[in-house]
């Protein structure tokens, strides 16, 4: 299904596919097994411009669009969900927050190195007591002379430790609820800014996930992103775009597992016949393929809406809801069709099933997606 893609999108997809197969897939198992951040792969992607796909050339990006970016994340996720989320958190959360809400100086100072691939980005909203409920943030930012002083701890932060530039959210007025949240840009190496131990995760194990710890961390006043008290809106708007990235990741995971399974059922014989000849196998495959294609339409549609400047918040939520459900369902069915071989590591679908689950949780759980979608219906 090509959705009448332009020739440049088709060629970009071919490029991303070739890169994923040649450079990423051979390392996917080690990345997972060793809980190892794939630094070399990220380095190659930075050189090739993969970390700045949707941003304008004037600011160091590739001058492509959200659709091309979606194709990148999708192709990477087909072979390695870890590599895909590194790109996604960097691009559509950290860099895009600055692209959307940064002033010209901030764009030059922070977005340019992110888009050029010279630095890696990260986005930190979640805290121990503030997941879906952002008003529960306890991290505080207090203005003191010519700086903001930040105190608090962020949890479950993707690219933490590996990233150079962090977009973080803190309370500048705890009494004001979500209207007291502000956004800041903080660089690694700033005194008072450190990292917790890496989390041990079910899936996307090579992705670096840990706490950000701020202890009297001083940053210049000009590192406030957007206006004071507008952080919640910035977080929500950025997450709308991030969800397109995660939807693309989920879609890619489903497709990757599906492709492996097609190969497997043609080869695996039981009762002297390939299991692909059994109607159960055929029906399961047919259902999975249909679900994958439906999910694909939603994510491409959300990307196209974003590119054409139309509202895409609901579309992004529907894309993420559907793609992440499909990723979990399809990978589980793929393991089932592999039988015992699906439960061991050799056939990759085991890893993909573990990787799929997070897409129903991060950047807004499936329940949050339903809140966003139903909220638009019952206004």
């Amino acid at each position: 299904m090509d959705m009448n893609f332009s020739k440049e999108h088709l060629m970009a997809r071919q490029l991303f596919h070739d890169f994923a197969v040649n450079e990423v897939e051979p390392w996917a198992e080690q990345t997972d097994e060793g809980h190892r951040f794939p630094k070399e792969i990220v380095g190659k992607m930075q050189e090739l411009g993969f970390m700045g796909v949707p941003f304008p050339k004037e600011i160091g990006g590739q001058g492509c669009d959200t659709l091309a970016y979606v194709l990148l994340v999708e192709e990477l996720a087909k072979v390695c969900a870890t590599t895909a989320v590194i790109v996604s958190a960097h691009t559509s959360l950290a860099a895009d927050a600055i692209a959307q809400f940064g002033n010209e100086t901030q764009k030059e100072q922070f977005l340019r190195p992110l888009a050029e691939g010279k630095k890696l980005g990260s986005f930190a909203l979640t805290e121990a007591e503030a997941g879906t409920d952002a008003s529960g943030l306890n991290t505080k930012a207090i203005r003191d002379g010519d700086s903001w002083v930040i105190n608090g701890t962020k949890v479950f932060i993707t690219n933490a430790g590996q990233a150079d530039i962090y977009v973080i959210f803190a309370m500048t007025d705890k009494t004001a609820g979500t209207r007291g949240i502000s956004a800041f840009i903080i660089e690694k190496g700033t005194p008072g800014f450190s990292f917790g131990l890496p989390e041990k995760k079910m899936g996307i194990r090579g992705s670096s996930t840990c706490e950000l710890i701020f202890e009297d961390c001083r940053i210049p006043l000009e590192n406030l992103l957007g206006r004071e008290g507008k952080g919640f809106g910035i977080a929500m708007a950025t997450l709308d775009g991030g969800r397109i990235g995660i939807a693309a990741q989920a879609l890619g995971i489903a497709e990757g597992a599906f492709e492996k399974t097609i190969t497997y059922v043609k080869e695996r014989k039981q009762f002297k016949t390939p299991i692909a000849k059994f109607q159960n196998t055929q029906f399961v495959l047919a259902q999975m393929k249909t679900e994958i294609e439906a999910a694909r339409f939603l994510v491409y549609d959300a990307a196209l809406k974003k590119d054409s400047g139309k509202p895409y918040s609901v579309e992004a939520a529907m894309a993420k809801l559907k793609c992440s459900q499909v990723a979990s369902d399809v990978t589980r069915e793929c393991v089932q069709l592999h039988g015992g071989y699906g439960y061991i590591q050799a056939f990759q679908v085991e890893r993909m099933m573990r990787d799929a689950k997070i897409t129903e949780i991060y950047e807004g759980t499936s329940e949050v997606m339903k809140m966003v979608i139903s909220g638009s219906l019952l206004r």
Partner: protein
């Protein structure tokens, strides 16, 4: 300096199946790719460009869809793409192809012409050297290493078991082996610029100063009489002796064939 790289769009032979009855390639539904040796030639040109500055022009003869390999070349870093395409050029063998490409090249300024050793769909390895003959310039084939020194190219020319180190004054044509280098990836920006900001120049019959008797099927002296799929080789010999005797036997055989 100006470098012209000759590029052919070919079916991806990894994906090609043979029609068991006709013995011909089934091309339908097979993706088209840039010929691998040509890609190495392009990479060599781009490395010269990176190192000392050069204008790299990708040149292809083929049907209109060969536009894609020229866009790909530009997305890798070529400055221009020229497509020589006209129904009158169709059905050309190596003679007619090289005559047409050489005539196209005479319209351009060049110091170095690079081509792949051979195309994976034809495997003749003739077009590169023939272009040089038509142009009246020297050529060096089978390059596994290539560098520029002053007004000369220095090339390691590969043989089965040795290489020649050759130099030639430019202008010269060199044909590249895939082993010459590892071609770079395109960049997303390169792809979007190739399609949205750049043009492939299209040259038709009347743009090319070549005699009509040398173009297309009519200008092609080669006639394909029959195409056959690869024939199975005779079964090998199985040696069932102890290690020492087996090794002795192998050594004798290798000496017999002048390999040792």
């Amino acid at each position: 300096m100006n470098i012209i790289v000759c590029i052919k769009q070919v079916p991806d032979t990894k994906e090609v199946r043979i029609d068991p009855v006709k013995g011909t390639l089934i091309r339908q539904g097979v993706p088209s790719i840039m010929n691998p040796d040509d890609k190495a030639a392009l990479e060599a040109a781009l490395r010269i460009k990176d190192g000392m500055g050069a204008k790299v022009i990708a040149l292809s003869m083929g049907p209109l869809q060969a536009d894609a390999v020229l866009r790909e070349a530009m997305a890798m870093g070529a400055d221009e793409g020229i497509l020589v395409s006209d129904p009158q050029f169709g059905g050309a063998d190596t003679w007619a192809t090289s005559a047409t490409l050489a005539a196209a090249i005479t319209k351009l300024e060049y110091d170095l012409v690079l081509a792949g050793r051979q195309a994976i769909d034809g495997d003749t390895a003739q077009v590169g050297p023939e272009i040089a003959e038509h142009l009246g310039i020297p050529h060096i084939s089978y390059a596994k290493e290539l560098r520029i020194e002053g007004d000369e190219v220095i090339v390691k020319r590969q043989f089965e078991d040795r290489y020649q180190l050759l130099s030639a004054k430019m202008p010269v044509l060199v044909t590249a082996l895939s082993e010459l280098n590892q071609p770079r990836y395109m960049t997303p920006r390169g792809i979007f610029e190739a399609y949205r900001e750049k043009q492939v120049t299209h040259w038709q019959r009347n743009d090319i100063p070549v005699e009509s008797e040398n173009i297309g099927l009519k200008g092609s002296p080669t006639r394909v009489i029959e195409t056959n799929p690869k024939v199975m080789k005779a079964p090998g010999t199985k040696i069932e002796e102890d290690v020492e005797k087996s090794v002795q036997y192998l050594i004798e055989k290798l000496k017999e064939k002048y390999i040792l």
